[in-house]
């Protein structure tokens, strides 16, 4: 389980989990689950376009996820957020369908782009993925304070001169970077589970930002590692385990905070 190509899988999955935990914490905090689903799913069209043009899938993914982020950001300035996200998403998917109709792509390749193919990660892919991950984490670190402030108390952030539209756009670009890191590994659809389940569980356990972020990364790591081990053992797709474990970790987090709540209520605090 820990030899050769499996080592590459473990390393990339670990990188993805760290990025998903950090970015996912803000996704949950800001209530940006829809863009976090739409950008990776729409970026899938980029992969289709890349295969049509015969260029690297990673380039296609990165370009389309950035385009998606810019599209969502600029459409929401003149309309509702969720409507803008939905329309940007369907436009990208429609483009993807048009590209796919032009290629003779095999079914399994489409499947693995959507649901991930952890064993297909080659050691030459580790370096670009790691590079993108570092850029992504660095971007979060740079905008950390204004991002946190505008996520928790948007009014105070505005009063301090933080432009929420600009922060929104920066954050969407961060999500786009995270997408490019994660899609080749866990797939366009499953990166979403990883960005929602573990951070939501972490938020249910603690309200302190840094601790919650660390917890989110830890839970994401456990989820991904367990998913790889289970998928290796039982030969079922890794995507299923990531999705299921994400939901389970959220349920445990909710259960824990409900139990805590009832304990404090009984103590009369």
């Amino acid at each position: 389980m820990f030899t050769g190509f499996m080592m590459d899988a473990w390393i990339t999955a670990t990188i993805v989990a760290v990025v998903a935990g950090v970015v996912g914490y803000f996704v949950v905090l800001r209530g940006s689950a829809f863009p976090a689903h739409a950008i990776p799913k729409g970026a899938f069209a980029g992969a289709a376009a890349a295969s049509l043009l015969g260029i690297s899938t990673l380039v296609g993914l990165a370009v389309f996820s950035l385009l998606g982020a810019v599209g969502i950001g600029s459409l929401s300035r003149r309309g509702r957020n969720d409507v803008a996200t939905a329309l940007a998403l369907v436009l990208m998917l429609a483009l993807g369908a048009a590209f796919l109709s032009r290629t003779t792509e095999y079914e399994p390749e489409i499947y693995s782009l959507l649901f991930g193919e952890i064993l297909g990660v080659s050691s030459s892919a580790i370096l670009p993925v790691a590079g993108l991950a570092v850029v992504c984490i660095a971007a979060v670190a740079i905008i950390y304070r204004p991002l946190l402030l505008s996520s928790i108390v948007p009014d105070i952030a505005e009063a301090r001169g933080i432009r929420s539209a600009r922060i929104d756009m920066c954050f969407l670009l961060v999500v786009a970077l995270a997408t490019a890191v994660a899609v080749p590994v866990v797939g366009a659809l499953l990166i979403f589970s990883l960005m929602i389940g573990p951070p939501a569980a972490a938020r249910a356990l603690t309200s302190r930002p840094v601790l919650a972020m660390v917890l989110a990364v830890v839970i994401a790591l456990i989820t991904v590692w367990a998913a790889i081990a289970l998928s290796y053992q039982y030969n079922w797709p890794i995507g299923f385990f990531v999705g299921a474990l994400g939901a389970v970790s959220y349920a445990i987090g909710r259960g824990w905070s409900a139990w805590q709540g009832s304990v404090t209520a009984r103590q009369g605090v």
């Binding site: 509702r80 939905a86 429609a94 994400g246």
Partner: protein, 305 residues
């Protein structure tokens, strides 16, 4: 004159049985989606509307795997997903996003498993594409009856609770004070949403399901602030966009010499997107001429109703 006619309607358009089915089913689905979609947009639940499409696609792939009727899978799991979202707390503003996200994440995991098992047992080829993208042209005329019945059901649900739903959507507090069962009305609406998204996912594909649910409704609500008018305008936009998309997709087969054609979903989405952008331009123009007091009618981006 005849040349113009054949340029617009390429030969055989009206004679093709697939076109007949696409026009009929597309029209029915567009109307159902437009009506339900106006409330979806007003309630700020586009994410739930889109997610239910993915959830019902998981049901569809599950049904494909065990050999059930796909319609039952699509609509069945969609309804279950809507119930779980409602249970986790879609009615509360803060929990809404998360409730949808958790259900969506779990459903995607299930899709991954079902599609994988379907592919390995070798039952069907092209299952991934079929379930996730779908196509209006592959629908058979046998589906028309089921689609119409389920569409009627969803419409009846919305019509039944129209007034209380409208009040609960615009101002939940006032509705509650007047004795409207806000929670129950919200649940009935979620069920109608699940049924209409499920049926549109199977009839026209998951991409178009979201496009027809959100696009026409959002454009209509930009053009008029009266909900009754918006319902009508959304239906007209939805149906016309669908029919124009079908026509363009049919014609695209004759463009160029390669005879490849482009998918119908691409054209319908393109028409809807352009309509949405155009409606924004119309709103911006009337906002410039309107008195300042009228400017605050539309809630700013990101605010919840």
């Amino acid at each position: 004159m005849h040349q113009v006619y054949t340029a617009v309607f390429e030969p055989g358009f009206f004679g093709s049985p697939q076109v007949h089915v696409a026009i009929t089913i597309g029209g029915v689905v567009a109307i159902v989606c437009a009506v339900v979609g106006v409330f979806t947009v007003m309630r700020g639940q586009s994410f739930a509307g889109h997610s239910l499409g993915d959830v019902s696609a998981a049901g569809g792939s599950g049904a494909l795997l065990i050999g059930l009727n796909p319609v039952a899978g699509f609509v069945g799991l969609g309804v279950v997903g809507a119930a779980v979202m409602d249970m986790i707390g879609i009615q509360r503003l803060r929990g809404r996003d998360l409730a949808t996200g958790i259900v969506l994440g779990a459903a995607i995991g299930l899709s991954a498993l079902f599609l994988y098992l379907t592919a390995t047992t070798g039952a069907t080829t092209g299952a991934t594409q079929q379930v996730l993208f779908g196509s209006i042209f592959t629908t058979t005329s046998a589906t028309i009856g089921v689609v119409a019945a389920l569409g009627g059901l969803a419409l009846a649900g919305v019509v039944m609770v129209y007034r209380p739903l409208l009040l609960a959507t615009i101002s939940p507090d006032v509705a509650a004070a007047r004795g409207v069962p806000v929670r129950l009305v919200g649940m009935i609406y979620m069920l109608a949403l699940a049924v209409s998204v499920g049926l549109s996912s199977i009839a026209i594909g998951a991409i178009l399901s979201t496009a027809l649910l959100i696009g026409p409704a959002a454009a209509a609500l930009r053009l008029t602030s009266r909900v009754g008018w918006a319902l009508g305008v959304a239906c007209v936009i939805g149906v016309l966009a669908t029919w124009l998309g079908v026509l363009l997709a049919y014609d695209s087969y004759y463009w160029g010499s390669a005879h490849l054609g482009l998918p119908v979903s691409f054209f319908i989405v393109a028409v809807i997107f352009v309509t949405y952008l155009a409606s924004g331009a119309v709103t911006a123009r009337s906002a410039r001429t309107a008195r300042p007091a009228e400017l605050v009618k539309v809630p700013a981006a990101g605010t919840e109703v």
